[in-house]
């Protein structure tokens, strides 16, 4: 898998906020079928990395590429194939889960998908039949994340950018989320996930990167390391 050309890549990605370096010449390369977990303390540059891939943040140096296209030069095209799931998927409270999905899917693909198809995606993402038509205002965080997955499914996204998608979820919801992530990975998606959850990173990640002060200080394959060793390695890097 590592031999196929990367879907996501960062080359010398650098971002400055005033005097602080949020990203310091970061290199990343993620191939289809890979789940790359970015670990690191708050402020290490994980979200900034994701924001660069989304063109929410313009890098001061280096490039972020999706499918070989430079994000800053092709902001609309590169977004066509990606799905973004932040810590809480923000939706329109006055609309139902199905209406939200319909809206986002239509805007993403340019055509309104059939309702049955959208319902199927929501069911696949783990929502119950009776929840689909309720207004999102009453949804739990877990249900919102499921709508986020359904958007990715409807969009047929092969690049997933996840920014701490499971923090604050109860273990069962978190487990369900990662089961779905596995499903998308098997379909050939390249996944970049920022997380604080070492356990989940080891369980669902294929590769793990540890960031500190805008730099990647370690990178390893998830199957090369045990849970205890990963925690030890992480804490070693976090000590100054």
């Amino acid at each position: 898998m590592a031999t196929s050309s990367p879907l996501l890549s960062a080359e010398g990605l650098t971002k400055r906020y005033g005097d602080t370096l949020a990203l310091d010449a970061l290199d990343l390369s993620i191939a289809p079928g890979e789940v790359y977990c970015l670990l690191g303390a708050n402020g290490a540059g994980k979200s900034t990395t994701i924001n660069c891939f989304l063109d929410f943040v313009r890098p001061d140096g280096g490039v972020a590429k999706i499918g070989g296209q430079v994000v800053a030069q092709h902001p609309l095209e590169t977004k066509k194939r990606l799905a973004y799931i932040p810590e809480t998927v923000m939706l329109y409270g006055n609309l139902s889960g199905l209406e939200n999905l319909e809206y986002f899917a239509t805007l993403a693909t340019g055509a309104r998908p059939a309702t049955e198809e959208l319902v199927a995606h929501l069911i696949t993402a783990g929502l119950r039949d009776d929840q689909i038509r309720q207004r999102v205002g009453g949804y739990s965080k877990g249900m919102r994340q499921k709508v986020g997955i359904a958007i990715a499914l409807a969009k047929r996204a092969d690049v997933l950018l996840l920014d701490e998608p499971t923090s604050g979820l109860d273990p069962k919801a978190s487990n369900e989320f990662h089961r779905l992530l596995g499903l998308l990975r098997e379909r050939g998606a390249a996944v970049l996930m920022a997380t604080h959850d070492l356990f989940r990173a080891k369980e669902s990640g294929t590769r793990i990167g540890i960031m500190k002060a805008g730099r990647k200080v370690a990178e390893l394959r998830a199957d090369e390391i045990g849970h205890a060793d990963l925690e030890k390695l992480y804490l070693t890097h976090m000590h100054d």
Binding site: P86, N94, L95, L161
Partner: protein
């Protein structure tokens, strides 16, 4: 894609209780103001017709009397109001709608409701125009201030932006969605308005209503576009709302007041007292101030005696007093033309300099157009005043000529005429200027409104990137 964005925006708005409440209030006010305005217009039109008819009957019914007494008896001219004046009463409450036409003087208009109004009523006169000019823009702001800023605050803008939707499509879609929600409220009112106007005025009324609709739609478009632009730039919905409410106050209150005050200072008008005094002085001493009435009378007498080669006025082939009175009228007319032209030009100059304020307030231009189309602007008031004044001059000439031709020497004020003379004066009629002349009068206002539309359109089209955080 744009349709989908508009549909979602519309769906969200119409599900929002705040929209339903505020739209209900504004729609209700608009409907009530229209219906009440229309009823008042219809009553006034009937009263006006009745008054004009009874005035005519009184004139015709005069017993045999001296024509000059008849000229002093005079009659009233009432300004007919177009049906659309129920939407916008324009300057009418301030300048009045009736004038007494009599011998020797051009009277000012009477029956100005503003004269009897208390200070509080200045804000209480809710015509449909006031709702359209002030409340609908406020409603648009309330509906659309959060279009982008609110989504930015709630985080949904990030989700939207991650989909790869062009900003321009978002802008257009949201504008259409809000417009559709507004249409829910405006279309019923427009239908009721059309029915009322059609009923009262026929096709020409519909044309005017269409023109007025176009002007207000353009105005709402400017307000909506500007609201979306501010919302797209503002970091929080609250900041957008503060900026927009300030702009609303500048557009609706501050700039128009300031422009009016500046215009008054740049082109001061005399007080009614000063004006009357000036006119009186000029009537007595001539416009140049050096030919008093007695001297003018003497010159006239001398030149007539010489021209007809007679020794005294009694020997002239016509009644000298009748002739002299008409000459006096003509001199008066010159004086009135001079001073009233000056006054009207000052008002026109004030209007023109007020338009400078349209840089900060498109409402100023909209107000002129709205009044013009409703037939209640200063230009159409002037057209009526001129028409009434011409009628007054015709009346006086008829009376004076009758004396000059028919009265024996020295019998100018004892000679009596009868109904034949009264009936020789055609009843007063007035045809309001057409829509074409309205556009010509308010060409600059129309251009200003178009410029505002162009500016907002260019700015919205140019906003290609949205800050999502």
């Amino acid at each position: 894609m744009i349709r989908e964005i508009a549909r979602k925006e519309f769906r969200e708005l119409t599900r929002d209780g705040r929209f339903r409440l505020s739209a209900g209030i504004v729609g209700g006010l608009l409907l009530v103001a229209s219906l009440a305005g229309f009823t008042a217009w219809r009553e006034q039109a009937a009263q006006r017709d009745a008054a004009q008819n009874s005035m005519q009957a009184l004139w015709f019914g005069q017993p045999a009397k001296n024509p000059h007494s008849a000229a002093h008896y005079g009659l009233w001219a009432f300004k007919p109001q177009l049906p659309l004046s129920f939407i916008d009463r324009g300057v009418d409450p301030y300048v009045g709608t009736a004038s007494w036409l009599e011998a020797h003087r051009q009277n000012e208009f009477r029956f100005r409701p503003a004269m009897d109004a208390t200070a509080a009523q200045r804000f209480g006169d809710w015509t449909a125009a006031a709702v359209l000019q002030h409340l609908v823009p406020l409603l648009i702001i309330v509906l659309a201030f959060g279009a982008f800023a609110g989504e930015r605050e709630r985080g949904t803008l990030r989700q939207l932006a991650s989909l790869g939707v062009p900003t321009r499509a978002l802008m257009t879609g949201k504008a259409l969605g809000v417009a559709a929600a507004l249409a829910l409220l405006l279309i019923p009112v427009a239908v009721v308005g059309s029915a009322l106007v059609l009923n009262a005025m026929g096709a020409d009324g519909l044309l005017r209503l269409a023109a007025m609709t176009a002007v207000y739609l353009a105005y709402f478009g400017v307000v909506l576009g500007a609201t979306l632009l501010v919302s797209a730039k503002a970091r929080t919905a609250r900041a957008a709302l503060v900026v927009l409410l300030a702009a609303w106050a500048v557009n609706g209150i501050v700039a128009p007041r300031l422009a009016a005050d500046v215009a008054r200072m740049a082109h001061p008008t005399p007080t009614a007292r000063e004006f009357t005094a000036e006119v009186q002085t000029a009537l007595a001493n001539g416009i140049d101030g050096h030919s008093p009435a007695s001297a003018r009378g003497k010159t006239l007498e001398d030149s007539l005696l010489k021209a007809y080669n007679v020794a005294k006025v009694e020997e002239l082939p016509f009644n000298f007093n009748g002739f002299a009175m008409q000459r006096g009228e003509e001199h008066g007319n010159e004086v009135f033309d001079h001073y009233f032209d000056e006054l009207w030009s000052t008002y026109a100059a004030q209007d023109r300099s007020q338009l400078l304020g349209a840089v900060a307030s498109p409402l100023i231009a909209v107000r002129f157009l709205s009044m013009g189309i409703a037939g209640t602007d200063a230009a159409q008031h002037r057209a009526f005043a001129t028409s009434a004044e011409n009628y007054r001059r015709e009346l006086n000439k008829k009376m004076n000529d009758a004396i000059a031709e028919n009265a024996g020497a020295g019998q100018a004020f004892t000679y009596q005429a009868d109904e034949t003379l009264w009936r020789s004066l055609e009843p007063f009629t007035y045809e309001a200027p057409g829509l074409g002349s309205v556009w010509r009068t308010h060409l600059v206002s129309a251009v200003v409104l178009l410029l505002w539309m162009g500016l907002v359109a260019v700015l919205t089209r140019r906003s290609t990137s949205l800050a999502v955080v």
